[in-house]
Symmetry: D2
Subunit: 155 residues, 4 copies
């Protein structure tokens, strides 16, 4: 559905595509090597998660805060995809329901914007396991910084 | 209000006091060396957090998921304090509002039970910085496992 | 997608279809004459809402609690559709984000189950206006009563 | 702690005290005749609720949306108390946990600000019954309109 980023001729869907978003993960979120953006457009983002590289809790499940971290990262990346690098976009609220214990293995986060205002952005996100079972469902609110950071030069 | 645990003569307030809860952190939550329970009774728990040992996000702030992890741990410990070791108490929902950027330094989590049912426990938690500024406010729901795990022998 | 209720031969999708659910509204929720179920299956329910029959707040918008009432009713009806009459299914938590002011006129609620456990049911619901603009997004948790109420006789 | 409003000599705690807030209820929220503000300061507000004048749901309990309406109203009034009449302060999110069925009779809402920013206000509210049992616990976010409405003249 979505294609590569703002560098492509005639593609104004998103400012940052999967490649640049994954560089952002590597540069700014070293705790999340498990995560790779695989698809993004202005309203939705899909992120693949290597289940073997996540923090677990007693019982072997992926911990709740780790699941919260995954949906939070996906929401942050979706905002950056649309606005360009916006490191100071900050989560103002996070609400997550833990629904089913994931099957061990890879996971996927699917995020979409419910509202994209100038100051506030609301993102709905779902975490699914390899069997497409819904593991968690989340609503995140982000405060968008008032003065956009200048976009880095594009080659 | 309440101090040491159910081992003390005549103290039936909680099954596990700060000392045993901190052993639980060390044994089961190695990602949270920053956290020490300092006070607990049947309804409330206070946990001190070494701010220098937490995960930060771009901008230097303590990341949202890390803050979520702190309130989640405090809620889990409060349930264990009251019921005895209940490792399979699982978070079923977590809602957190990020209110103010914490001053660098130590933090404190104050948790209290809003409801303690047989199957479901609702905990309200606040994260404060060294100036007593409210950093985050959270509501957590825990599912209590139906069959209590046997208490370990007490020396 | 979904058809009429459990009374139809070979249809085990839902126990109660739109017609019986609308009778349930009339009998038990006289405050919600504006609401009519138009489609339901085991996982999703669509409810039409007459926008002229809702409570407004200063400024003329449909009040937040009124919007909360609409998603709560839709979630309740979805549970009843699947389980049969379960009047004592009780909301245990409700989280709603108000996203856009609705255009005056008719509204629609779309609800779907995120988890349907024996004791707990999590429903995601969206409220849309006549232009399909997302007005509110909600997550509701329902406690299912342990002993199911006997189904009424079916003619 | 705080008593009557900004009209009293030397009292700058709040712009609107209980009397003016109750006039606001009567003028703008005719659906809530059950509610009377009894105490307010810059950070907290207590509202008494006549339990006999509330909407119930099947089973005779006060309905969830009605409880949501009570905490929402208290949060709105707390913001108006501090800022002066601000009818266009709008709820942007509401999260409520229903904890215990209230004893029939009068209720009380206790609200306090967790954050009071220029654009966003977060209010924590609790609903208690006549036995001081916690009936519901809520977190509300309000968007404060950018241009303050002019304060009405004070006599």
């Amino acid at each position: 559905m979505s294609t590569e980023s703002g560098t492509a001729v005639g593609t104004v869907d998103v400012v940052m595509g999967p490649e640049r978003l994954n560089e952002l993960i590597d540069g700014q979120f070293p705790d999340y090597p498990a995560c790779r953006v695989v698809e993004v457009d202005r309203r939705t983002l899909t992120m693949a998660v290597d289940g073997n590289r996540l923090r677990t809790r007693p019982g072997g499940t992926i911990s709740g805060p780790e699941q919260a971290g995954l949906v939070d990262l996906a929401a942050f990346l979706l905002i950056n995809a649309r606005l360009g690098p916006t490191l100071m976009a900050l989560t103002s609220s996070l609400q997550i329901n833990f629904l089913n214990r994931p099957r061990p293995g890879d996971l996927q986060v699917r995020a979409r914007t419910a509202k994209f205002g100038r100051r506030l952005c609301v993102v709905l996100a779902e975490l699914l396991d390899a069997d497409d079972v819904l593991v968690a469902s989340a609503t995140l609110t982000y405060a968008i910084p008032p003065i956009p950071e200048p976009s880095p030069p594009r080659e």
